[in-house]
């Protein structure tokens, strides 16, 4: 973070979004879904030996963080804003933040710039430790998915699949509720109370967070048995066609072209980044607006072919990409 801030002339960084603040500070808090972040709770000043965190969970701060850098969370927004202004007062250069709020703008009293490009730069390349952490969570997600697949019998409600995921993912926080789509044109997302029937073909996807890093896993199953070999083989061909293009400098359009040529169908995303959460780039068949791929990006490929959807993660390198997990 400090290196990228220096390169971009940013003297202070204010972060409210939980996964970004955790990335930049190393601090862990009780995870709360749907708290995209109000006021910043992590402040990084250029050259400072540590981030400053505001938290209700001081035991979640890294052991190397000085005690003075760990402050109790403030519920009084006025006080919180005054403290933030005090912390960034020494900054002479730009002040960047990940979330806009009129209160913050007024309290800081100086122009704020968007932290998104800075964060995107800092989050790639992933370090070896980060790649290892992502692989651990990918493995946990795949194990949990196998639990859901086993539970996907005729007459079972979608809730039974979600229960199976919970049972086989102790120590992980669900990124979201988990998706079950009935395969069709288009895919139809099922509710927890919907019941699976024999002969249904459903696509499952779930996401987990473990030790701050995220993993996702998706696959397609035929409820009550059924042969998906041909569909799986078609999907695998598309997967490989996209993976071949996942090299330094490839654009979203390159990936989209390869996928279309191999027979991918327009249905949600084609690929997305992975790290402390689901991350940019977000690539769909329209190509999207993603920057050219950089080595050290973890990419989850999520192509859809007629009747089949699954996921597989890879690491973009200087040469050929490296798979981070086996084919589902």
């Amino acid at each position: 973070m400090q290196a990228v801030m220096a390169r971009r002339g940013v003297d202070a960084l204010l972060l409210a979004t939980p996964h970004l603040a955790a990335f930049a500070s190393g601090a862990r808090r009780v995870q709360v879904a749907g708290s995209g972040g109000g006021l910043p709770w992590v402040v990084i000043v250029a050259g400072a030996p540590s981030a400053v965190v505001f938290t209700a969970d001081p035991d979640g701060a890294p052991s190397w963080m000085p005690r003075v850098a760990i402050e109790p969370l403030l519920w009084d927004r006025g006080r919180a804003l005054r403290r933030l202004a005090e912390l960034v007062a020494p900054a002479r250069g730009a002040i960047a933040c990940d979330t806009f709020s009129p209160l913050l703008r007024d309290a800081i009293g100086r122009p704020l710039i968007d932290a998104a490009p800075l964060l995107a730069e800092a989050m790639v390349p992933k370090t070896a430790d980060e790649v290892a952490a992502v692989k651990t969570t990918l493995r946990a997600a795949r194990t949990a998915l196998r639990g859901a697949v086993r539970a996907a019998g005729p007459g079972e409600p979608v809730a039974a699949l979600i229960a199976a995921v919970a049972e086989s993912s102790a120590g992980c926080f669900p990124l979201g509720e988990g998706f079950v789509w009935r395969i069709g044109s288009p895919f139809v997302r099922l509710a927890a109370t919907d019941v699976l029937g024999a002969g249904d073909v459903v696509a499952l996807e779930l996401g987990l967070s473990h030790a701050a890093y995220a993993g996702v896993a998706g696959d397609t199953v035929a409820v009550g048995g059924g042969d998906l070999t041909a569909a799986r083989r078609a999907w695998f061909a598309v997967l490989c066609a996209i993976a071949k293009r996942c090299r330094r400098g490839a654009t979203a359009a390159d990936l989209a072209r390869a996928a279309t040529a191999a027979g991918a169908r327009r249905e949600g995303l084609l690929a997305h980044g992975l790290g402390v959460g689901v991350e940019p780039p977000f690539i769909d068949l329209d190509g999207g607006d993603a920057e050219p791929l950089r080595p050290g990006t973890v990419l989850v490929l999520t192509p859809v072919v007629a009747g089949f959807r699954a996921t597989r993660a890879l690491l973009v390198t200087e040469g050929s990409p490296r798979w981070l997990e086996g084919a589902p």
């Binding site: 979004t17 995209g36 009084d76 006080r79 968007d114």
Partner: protein, 376 residues
């Protein structure tokens, strides 16, 4: 994934419009799942912060129209217009929908979007308007909060027998999520907390100055017989939060220390409940807890948390009791019928350990009614 039913939507929309008018806001731009659901009845994709960033959503509320952006169409009520959230075009889409408005209340926005909108509109925080509308619950909302609470209580009852020596804290969280899913409650809002409380201050050296030793980050700690396991969970049922909390002794009957702490917790809770009626203030609840706690003891709740907080759609919400907001703010926070409070004192003493549990209530015309059962 169907949108909220019509009577629920109508009651909330009326409250929100009144609050907007009182604040002089021509429009609101809302970006939190809870606020969008409150204002529109639309159900957004539930998830943590990176999912929200990956699939952003918003709603725009004016006096006569409601729009949502980035919400799956099957979750949107018929009277709400839905538009895509397109990364390149989101500012122009918002500006178009906001045309004619001058003062707008906004929740958090991506910085780039906020900086662009600022050129065209006078922007104020939306939170005071949302807070004013959401503080008092409609009859339909109270019924949903009660149902959410019941489901959580049943889920917890299923997990309690598993609190035995040898199991890890995180295993209990997983069992709880599975038990809730089997009751069709699948939206995990707060990481389920199953944490052994410290019996002595030296077991929690990180505690903030002046606070009671406490922990709430579950880990791989293996439970031993007699451990005081603090439970705190937050699941969303139809968007409404069930905040369940209690303390359970691992693999044993509660001992003398456990019973002493629970009795103290009960005395503090009873004193606070005595003050729960229309017209009293958050400051009165704080004073009641401190008086029941006895002189010379630190405030009976963890710092920097609270003695009590409101709940509704989504997470904790005002009124807060016992935070750094302080006495002046608490004196202004007057209880009125329809407010829903979670009261959660923490009794802790060196050598004895801790006991924390939660009681959810709704303020009624002549006092309060419980929405949660007494802790097990």
């Amino acid at each position: 994934m169907s949108p909220d039913p019509s009577p629920l939507r109508a009651g909330r929309t009326a409250r929100l419009h009144a609050a907007m008018e009182a604040a002089g806001h021509d429009a609101l731009v809302l970006t939190s799942a809870a606020a969008i659901r409150y204002a529109t009845g639309a159900v957004v994709r539930h998830g943590e912060s990176s999912l929200e960033a990956a699939w952003p959503f918003a709603s725009v509320v004016t006096a006569d129209r409601v729009h949502v952006l980035g919400v799956e169409p099957e979750g949107v009520p018929p009277e709400v217009e839905h538009l895509p959230w397109t990364r390149h075009a989101v500012v122009s889409t918002l500006a178009e929908v906001l045309r004619g408005a001058r003062t707008i209340g906004v929740e958090r926005l991506p910085t780039a979007v906020g900086l662009e909108l600022e050129r065209a509109f006078r922007m104020e925080p939306a939170e005071p308007v949302l807070g004013a509308a959401r503080a008092v619950k409609t009859v339909e909302e109270i019924a949903l909060l009660r149902a959410a609470q019941r489901a959580s209580e049943a889920g917890i009852a299923e997990v309690l027998p598993a609190i035995v020596p040898g199991i890890r804290e995180v295993d209990l969280g997983a069992r709880f999520l599975a038990a809730m899913a089997r009751r069709d409650v699948t939206a995990c809002h707060v990481e389920p907390i199953f944490c052994v409380l410290p019996r002595e201050a030296r077991e929690a050296p990180w505690t903030f100055a002046g606070g009671l030793p406490y922990r709430e980050l579950p880990g791989e700690r293996v439970l031993a017989a007699g451990d005081q396991v603090m439970i705190d969970t937050g699941m969303l049922h139809a968007g409404y939060l069930a905040d369940f909390g209690c303390t359970w002794v691992c693999g044993a009957e509660p001992g003398r220390a456990d019973r002493t702490l629970r009795a103290r917790w009960q005395a503090i809770l009873d004193a606070v409940l005595d003050a729960c009626r229309p017209g009293t203030t958050a400051a009165d609840l704080r004073a009641a807890a401190l008086a029941a706690n006895g002189p010379g003891r630190p405030a009976p709740w963890p710092r920097p948390l609270y003695l009590a907080h409101g709940i509704g759609l989504g997470g904790v919400e005002p009124p807060f009791v016992g935070t750094d907001l302080g006495l002046a703010a608490e004196t202004r926070a007057v209880l009125v019928p329809g407010m829903v409070l979670v009261i959660e004192p923490y009794a802790w003493e060196e050598g004895l350990g801790g006991y924390r549990a939660e009681q959810t209530i709704v303020i009624t015309d002549d006092g309060f009614a419980p929405l949660s059962a007494p802790p097990p």
